[in-house]
Symmetry: D3
Subunit: 259 residues, 6 copies
């Protein structure tokens, strides 16, 4: 058990000792959501978990169990509810899970927390979960607590994006199940990707509004919002290197951990 | 009372008659939030309300009372809670208000609804409020109901952005209290703007992560996230013309209302 | 912006400065509810907002945005849900909005708050919202906080009631859309009243119990619970003078503000 | 067990048979709240339970267990939280209890329900509980359901009030722990009343507003809001006779039960 | 009123004085649930209330009003929802009632609380209600508070079980409406038991899993999970003597009350 | 991807096709909770996940992502909150997660669900989550839905228990981190067990009540409630064989799946 960076693989005295030693604790936020015909439903779990694992190893941290169900998929960012396989939580439920876990960490005297998100729709209810935890703890009683929150794709360097998309970047919202996610999965879990089955229907051209209950018809039937062509493990490694190195640096800087 | 487009200024028989006649109903979502030293706290109320008013007049619709308190301001998109004057609702409360109003409209046999948002942080809890309303109504009992949801800034044409920002657009998230909002306010309510007091601290350079409970120090102290220089009523009118004409077209197309 | 008493029309530094100077902050509670054939749906918004405006001007206070949707209308006090135009919040939602706004004021170091209600059905969920805010703040940490809560009609002097109703007062609950509200609206917003359309079906004779889901048949079809005959702007001014002067005195006395 | 009218004293087949036979089901709403130096804390439980018992016997109904904890006592209507002995539920909790019980009755095919309230502060959260139950059941699926709701004091005849208060009636809100409640308790449970200990501090003269968190000082220290002098079992019987006969008539009329 | 041990039968000064004197306060948790053809629906109210009454008398305590509606009956432990007469609360509602009552006791400076449960399905939501109260109070502000929680059947001595079940004990979960409960009711409230009507269908043979929404068919149609044969008041007295004496001892020991 | 039984490792068309083919869907409920000095914190995740995997393979089912955080650990069944490493959800949050996932499965037309629990404290909030899902779906609209719920330890045959505990079985509640769980972990994930570090303090002798906020001192400091001596992978295989074969049979029988 000794050299695992996963909280769940520690015994309780090991976890307690690492917390007492100031280990930063990483909470990955995932989802179970369609990612096209060519990738498994767990992309949003695999990516933040894997990134946290690498960073935690570098900074002496621990990675909590990934929350495997995410906030409701929306048509323009994940395809929405029309696709089989996607399992949504309501925003309130998701926020309460985040709140409860953070309150428990605080109770255990964890004061260095990094929330790492892998699912676009989680952003706002994760923020709300953090705010609810701070409300519950008491804003004036937070006693040294620092919670960092990030979306892994925001740590990619612009130069890497330029390298991957020499013809222009469609934007992160359209990147659902597309080149970035597919390349990272090829680098990390190639057995969960089958580019041979890849369907993509050209970049989605979304109208500038949403419609409910019947969503607009502009979600590509494949579930891929942009394109998969050009996905490569090598590009995935470029992306992962960016994210991991930037995140490691942020954690070191914020928590004063030498490297 | 007859020619008002505001729901609140109808008698009940007038409102009922217009609903029976298929009038689209607009729900503006606002906020009470700092907008720099040069603008009032009600920018996110004034803009969507005014836009809805114009569109409703064009399409024979009615505008509901604007929800005047929005979801929690966040540092990178509205300055966050450090500024006096900002009054936040929790995400759950905001979603419940949206849910309740939509359920009431449905009960009154309104079937054409347009939710028009003026505050960035409202996006996700507004989506959740719509989803909760559909859950409450019953997804299989929605009986002709159509809810459109949009953020007014998404209806601006790229060419207009290029015209206003010849040196490049900083992006909508940074546009808080900046040229776009200031110009639109100058066009609509110049008495609520005093460019002479305008302070801006250069475009915010945000780090790619959030920090809680003490936010990162990169929020400009003025509360203006980008810049106010160059704000003009004329530009405001360009923007408003774009938004209103696009929104009018969307409403006509979606609801089959001739022009 | 300088001489507005509306919170929403301040810049954030102006609002912050007035709070720091001890300005009492007024929160009007409204509703969107039928008020007969002769008045607009916004009576319960207009009246408390206008009263607060006058009092705030007298005592150096600020008026927050009025909550425009109220707790569920009930048959005997507002006609109930059978009338078009009425948009209800559930009691829990309404209480949470009040709670959230009060907690935000407390966080911003506001310690002098006046909650001014204009809709009968709001009374109890407003009380609950206040109690929930105190629970959230901590009863033993309220640190100088004083919240006053009042219903504007309770500040009318008995002698004025006698003057307006020489043949006897039907009671405030029956006054929905009747002489008191109509007269006050005539004084404040005559363009929202059309006495020529006024229908009233004689004072409601309510049975001493409620029935659900089909309410008792004793709600007058017009929505006017008592009568409109005799409504006059002059009477409205008598009423408003009473309310404003009494409320001003209460605020001065409670907060030690000289006059 | 056979001749008890209490639901709780039936075996399940007996309860089921009576429900199948169309028995009206009574739900008394009580409270545990101070009632002066001379009466026990259970006045708001004893009165509605006893009234329901008598009426249920007359109409072939059953009386559910009384909800023994009520919505938060307020200073002007029950003395508020400053008195020992009072145990408050929050409004939301109270509403949920009412909702849950009503939904269960509906599930068991009960279609004739009478909610009988004995605590002033319960009125609005009881209404909300009923509305929440109807929301949960589905407004368009209520299938013959009728819920009556009443406050027992509203069934007293004006002539009886005149007889008891020849010098004028202080109003029901001030009647907390005063002549009406005391007389009814003397008639029903004299062992829970000790007029010899009775303290009352003259009728409360309430200011026309509320104050939080420290309430206004105008609550009489005894907890009696009006007066106890003149309380008599005989008057209690007058009152109970009024309430029981009126309520019996209402139930017969509404449910078509012959007498 | 003086010698009653029921909180509800005290005047407020009496309750306050006893609390100030350190009286332990007992909160019985009941249910309204089928208990076979031979017993009333209030068994789970009668037993814990009666036990608390006796113990409170012995230790100078007070017994709060019993919560008369319990958490959802489940097929294997109470027969489930198929039986007429059972009125369930949802777990969340039940927990909120427990939370609210405990918070109110804390506010009144009660520091010695004993929660005594009489309904199997209440165990977990009662625990949750206690935890929620501690969350609301603040874990680090509990200031001498001690809450004991017990299920009365756990205080029976093994030797008594052996005496009553010489052929082997079926286990407490199966004891619903069976020999233990029936014997205790015969000892306490024989008029609510009619052994002549007793039906039992042999001990339930439950499969080791649950099924929803249609439960498994293995619930005995009588609602008696084990058997009623052999129920006797005398055995009830053995059981009650065990429970009362053990509980009295626990309360004395925990709270340092001499005997 | 083809031969994985994990939902998360399917593409969405694969998941949708298996659902359409009637595949039973398994939802494992786990926890992150101390399990002594010799086992990792993920025992309650590993065991139900692994069992589900084997059964799903046998019956053509799919295993959803395991909920990795469980309901609050209690002293007598999991050691409670005093141990480092344990991360609790509140009961309400846990129930909402279960509810949301089940509602999503229903929406996707899954009609055969098996909820498999690995953490004692999850039992009741899992039941509540199922009931809440049925409430949300509508009890009369469940349309062929069957949800089975089981705790894996209940499927062990008595003869196996006798074989493992020739000197008597301490009972499942005491089995936390003891011989049963340790043996099963040795069989499944021996690298997460280190018997050399095993501490156990003799079987816990619990008093027959709980105490809050300071729990009774009778929780063994090691966190092992019974004993670890005698744990062996072979015994683990006996246990797993029992559970898997019984569960396979139950699923086949309930869903009419041939073997």
């Amino acid at each position: 058990m000794n050299d695992s960076v996963f909280w769940a693989e520690q015994t309780w005295p090991e976890a307690a000792a690492k917390v007492a030693g100031g280990a930063p604790i990483f909470l990955p936020l995932g989802a179970t959501e369609q990612h096209g015909h060519h990738m498994a439903l767990n992309v949003d779990v695999v990516l933040p978990t894997s990134i946290c694992e690498t960073v935690a190893r570098a900074v002496g941290g621990l990675v909590l169990p990934t929350i495997p169900y995410g906030n409701r998929s929306q048509p323009k960012t994940g395809g929405g509810s029309a696709f089989g396989g996607t399992i949504n939580l309501t925003a309130h439920t998701f926020s309460l899970v985040v709140r409860d876990v953070l309150c428990e960490l605080y109770r255990q005297k964890v004061r260095r927390i990094v929330v790492v998100n892998g699912h676009y729709e989680n952003i706002w209810p994760a923020v709300e979960g953090i705010e609810l935890a701070l409300d519950a703890i008491g804003r004036d009683r937070c006693d040294g607590l620092t919670i960092l929150r990030l979306d892994h794709w925001d740590l990619v360097q612009p130069s890497t994006i330029d390298r991957i998309f020499p013809d222009g970047y469609p934007g992160i919202e359209l990147e659902h199940a597309s080149v970035i996610e597919t390349s990272m999965m090829l680098a990390l879990r190639p057995e969960l990707v089958d580019l041979g089955r890849s369907l993509h229907d050209g970049p989605a051209m979304f109208k500038p509004y949403d419609r409910y209950p019947l969503p607009l018809a502009d979600v590509p039937p494949s579930g891929v919002l942009s394109m998969t062509a050009g996905s490569q493990a090598e590009k995935g490694n470029w992306l992962l290197t960016d994210v991991v190195s930037r995140m490691t640096q942020i954690v070191r800087d914020e928590f004063g951990i030498g490297g």
